[in-house]
């Protein structure tokens, strides 16, 4: 079994000056390639912190986190940027689309970051928008789209550069039940395949069924991993 992510004894302490918060307190977790892993647990237990470390946008203080065999903390910052640009897709609770770019332009951003010409990138972006069912809305601004549509644009953006790992933080929390369900279906059917791994942080018990495995966290620890590969 190929591993997408291997966390070993990962520790992260936030030091705000006044106090130290141990957000991750020795995390051990393996995630297989092609797996949809959900991270659940009470607020403040460290879920967001953990996917930030996995996505290479936050450095842990101790332990190691290997993503596709690469130890992110050892990478030079330039290589890490490149690694993120090629291998990681992001989906956020608040969508985080660039408000002045239309849907196709938003989706093309990861391609442009990877050096693709704008026209070509937008052509590719439009075809991915079609995959998520938004082919006709390519020129709409985010403000002209519903929440569910915006999240679908965001998913297209997370997919467009064919990353090997997509991290999602509460992708359905800002959406109603049905829309959330559709978004999850999209993630599972379009985003996930045998070479792509999804890590989804969620509170939303209604979508647990989409997971291959669910890791339950509490107070900086993984307390239980349910389901089997």
């Amino acid at each position: 079994m190929d591993l997408a992510v291997r966390c070993q004894n990962v520790v992260k302490v936030y030091d705000t000056g006044e106090q130290k918060v141990t957000a991750l307190n020795g995390i051990n977790l393996d995630i297989a390639v092609g797996e949809l892993m959900m991270l659940v647990g009470p607020s403040g237990c460290g879920k967001t912190t953990l996917i930030s470390v996995m996505a290479g946008i936050l450095d842990q203080d101790d332990g190691s986190c290997e993503v596709f065999g690469e130890n992110l903390i050892d990478m030079r910052s330039r290589d890490k940027l490149n690694f993120r640009a090629h291998n990681i897709g992001f989906v956020f609770q608040a969508f985080n689309l660039l408000p002045s770019l239309n849907a196709a332009e938003n989706v093309s951003v990861p391609l442009i970051i990877n050096g693709m010409k704008r026209v070509e990138a937008e052509r590719k972006a439009t075809s991915v928008l079609e995959q998520v069912g938004l082919g006709e809305r390519a020129t709409s601004l985010p403000s002209q789209l519903s929440g569910g549509q915006q999240q679908r644009v965001a998913i297209a953006r997370a997919l467009v550069h064919s990353p090997r790992l997509i991290v999602c933080d509460e992708p359905t929390s800002a959406l109603d039940h049905e829309t959330g369900h559709n978004v999850m279906t999209l993630l599972k059917d379009v985003a996930l395949h045998k070479d792509r791994t999804l890590v989804i942080v969620t509170h939303d018990a209604r979508i647990f069924d989409f997971a291959d495995r669910i890791a339950e966290m509490d107070d900086g620890h993984i307390i239980k991993v349910k389901g089997a590969r």
Partner: protein
């Protein structure tokens, strides 16, 4: 990525217009105020400009500027004429005299006496009559602004405009009759007093009786003469001061620069404009970056380097800077055009474009630097924060 940067900037119309307006304001103040200032300062030597023709002005060594008259003896004229390299040398009287108007009131005028034979140094533009008319007995030429305003006859209706002085009207200078034979256009002077032209000998009769009445000797150099050489020769031979036209302008200009509050006043308003403009533009630009911080964070998380983000912000700053600068300078030019025939002074040399360009660049660079620092320090992990 540049395209994205431009879209980010222009997509937020309100902010974009705010930033551009701040910069427009700054560059407007930084060009318009100095332009008025320079315009005013050129007035300090407008008399020299108007006289035009002579290459060299000879005067008492203690003279500090063009209105600072320290008369010479008439014999100095002949000494100057005797110096080699001098094509011709003409006397000029310049002084402040009181004119008695028809209604019995007095008005101080600048009286200029020109060489009787040649009338050298006369007004640059004649609107009515000819310079030669000065040869008619008691003839004087007055400037149009003086004729319309300070020398005019009081209006028949109280508070109305004065009736302009016309050709044929009579003034009294030092109890002597002076008949207006012409109206001229002269460049406004600093003090805006009426200017009255007459001949040298008649000016002497108008002036209070003094031993010395020669204000300046105006010199034309022979063809091919080195002016610096000639001025030195005149100084050495006569012991008087001799300046080329440009030197005399500079002398006058510098006198006003150093001895009046004008430069300080304008300096302060330019500085204030700069500070206010910088504050508005810098602040709005920085705010713009702050509000887009999440967007920059998203780009960073997705793998955009600090270097690329830096160039994006610089591009945004350069764009708003050039538009604001263009608008500001354009407005100043329009302002100058609108004011071209009014009492307001205005001069817009290319150096001013550089000055305000440098000012606006400074503001933009400053705003960009603080924005860039903020973005470089930004942790990409903020993208997951609510």
């Amino acid at each position: 990525m540049y395209y994205i940067a431009l879209k980010m900037l222009i997509g937020d119309k309100g902010k974009y217009i705010g930033i551009v307006m701040g910069l427009t304001f700054a560059s407007l103040i930084m060009t318009q105020q100095p332009a008025i200032f320079l315009g005013l300062m050129t007035r300090s030597y407008s008399f020299i400009t108007d006289v035009g023709l002579p290459d060299i002005w000879v005067m008492d060594p203690k003279v500090q500027f063009v209105d600072d008259i320290k008369p010479l003896q008439d014999t100095e004229l002949y000494r100057v004429r005797g110096i080699s390299g001098v094509e011709w040398a003409m006397p000029m009287y310049k002084g402040l005299l009181k004119a008695r108007l028809t209604d019995g009131t007095f008005q101080t005028c600048i009286v200029v006496g020109l060489d009787d034979a040649t009338l050298t140094g006369g007004p640059p533009v004649m609107l009515e009559g000819k310079i030669d008319d000065l040869r008619r007995s008691d003839g004087v030429i007055v400037d149009i602004d003086g004729a319309r305003d300070k020398l005019g006859k009081p209006s028949p209706v109280p508070g109305g405009k004065p009736i302009p002085l016309k050709v044929g009207d009579v003034l009294e200078l030092n109890d002597l009759r002076a008949i207006v034979v012409g109206i001229a256009k002269v460049t406004r002077t600093f003090q805006s007093q009426p200017v009255v032209y007459t001949t040298y000998s008649r000016a002497k009769s108008y002036a209070p009786k003094e031993r010395k009445l020669l204000s300046f000797v105006l010199v034309k150099a022979k063809q091919g003469q080195n002016l610096v050489e000639l001025t030195r020769r005149i100084r050495e031979t006569t012991g008087l001061a001799a300046y080329t036209q440009a030197e005399f302008k500079t002398l006058t200009f510098e006198y006003f620069m150093h001895n009046t509050g004008i430069p300080i006043n304008f300096g302060i308003s330019v500085l204030l404009g700069f500070i206010v403009g910088a504050a508005i533009a810098g602040q709005t630009f920085y705010n713009f970056t702050l509000e887009n911080l999440r967007q920059f964070g998203v780009l960073k998380a997705m793998g955009t380097s600090n270097w690329t983000l830096l160039r994006m912000i610089l591009l945004q700053a350069v764009l708003v800077g050039s538009i604001g600068y263009g608008l500001g300078v354009g407005l100043t030019a329009l302002f100058g055009y609108a004011m071209r025939n009014t009492i307001l002074a205005f001069k817009f040399p290319w150096q001013l474009l550089l000055f305000s360009g440098a000012g606006v660049s400074l503001i933009c660079v400053f705003a960009a630097i603080i924005s860039i620092l903020k973005v470089i320090r930004l942790e990409p992990a903020i993208v997951f924060k609510g």
